[in-house]
Amino acid sequence: MFIKTFFCILIFLTFLSSCSVLNLAYCVKAREDFSVFSESEAQIAVEAAEDKILTCYQAASNAANSGANVSVLLLILDEAGTLYSRAQLAYQNGDFNSATSLANLSVEKLSNFVDDANLLEQEASKQQFMDFLALAASAVATMLVLFASAIAWIVLNRTPRKVKAT
C-alpha cells in the first residue's frame, strides 16, 4: 500500500515538474515571438533604417555616376524603401513592434549594399579608364592616318612625270 502511494506521488510530481518546464519553455518562446518594443526603440530603429537607406542611395548614386549599371542595386533599395515606408506607417499608428521589425528588415536587406556598390563603382572606373585609352588610341591613330595621307599626297604630286621622247 505504502509503495503504491509512493509511486503515485512520484508520478504526480514528475507530471508537475514536466508541466512547469514546458510552461517555462512556452513563456520564453512567447517572449521571443512577441517581444515588446518601446516607442523610443522603434524610433531609433526607424531612424537607423532611414540613415542606412540614405547611405546606400549615396553609394548607388556614386556608382551610377562612374557609369556602373545599378539597376539591380536600385531594386534592392526599392524593396528596402517599401519596408521603411511600412515601418514609418506602423510607427505613426503606434504599432512599435511592427515598426521596429520592419525597420530592422529594411536594414538587413541593405547589409552588403555599400560593398557591392563600391565594387561596381571600381569596375566602372576601370572600364571608364579603358574606354578613355581606346578613345585616345583612336584619336592618335586618326592623326597618324591623316599625316600619312598628307605625306602620300605630297609624294604623289612630286613624282616626276615620264617625258615622252620626241
Partner: protein, 197 residues
Amino acid sequence: MNLFERRILLILISGILILLVASPVLTRLLVFPRTEFFTEFWVLDSNHGTKDYPFNVTLTHDYNVFLGIANHLGYCAYYSVEVKFRNQTQSAPDRFNHASSSLPALFNISAFVADEGALEQPLTLSFAYQYNESLSRVEFSSLKLNGNELDLNTMITRDKENGFPGFLFFELWIYNGTSNSFQYHNRFLSLKLDMTV
C-alpha cells in the same frame, strides 16, 4: 593609272581608313547633348490606359491603378511619393505657385530610379466609409493601399451635383543631397472620386 586616278584612290583609301580609325571618337562626339532635364510622373487605369480611371467608388471595393515615374534628370534619383486625400474644401497642391498641399501624407512610396530609367508600381485601393444620413455627409474611416491600412479622418459633404467628391492625390518629392532633405518636385496627380452612398 594616271595621276588623277591615283589622287582619287589616295583620297578614297585615306577617307575609309580615317572613318574606320576615328569611329570610336565619332560615336562619342556625334551625340546630341541633353538640354532638358525632367521627371515624368503618371497614373494609369487598370488597363494601362486613360479611359477607365476609378470614379464611382463603392464601399470596400478594390480599385487598381498604376503609378509611374521616369527619370530624365541626368542622375540616379531618390523620389518619395506622398499619398494624400482631401475633400472639396481641404488644401490642394498649387500648380502655379509650385506649392504642395499642407495636408499630412497618409503614406510615402519610396522610389529609386536610375537616369533614363522608369519605375511603375501597381496600386490597389479600397475605401471604408459610412454615410451619415442626418448630416448628409460621408465619413471615412480608412483607406487601404496595397494592403496597408491608412487612417483617413475626413468627411465629404454633398456637393451641388448631388455627389460626394473626394480627391486622392499623389505628390512627387525628390531627395536633395545638398540640403539632405526631400523637396517638392512640383508634380502631382489627382484622382477625382465620387463616393456612392
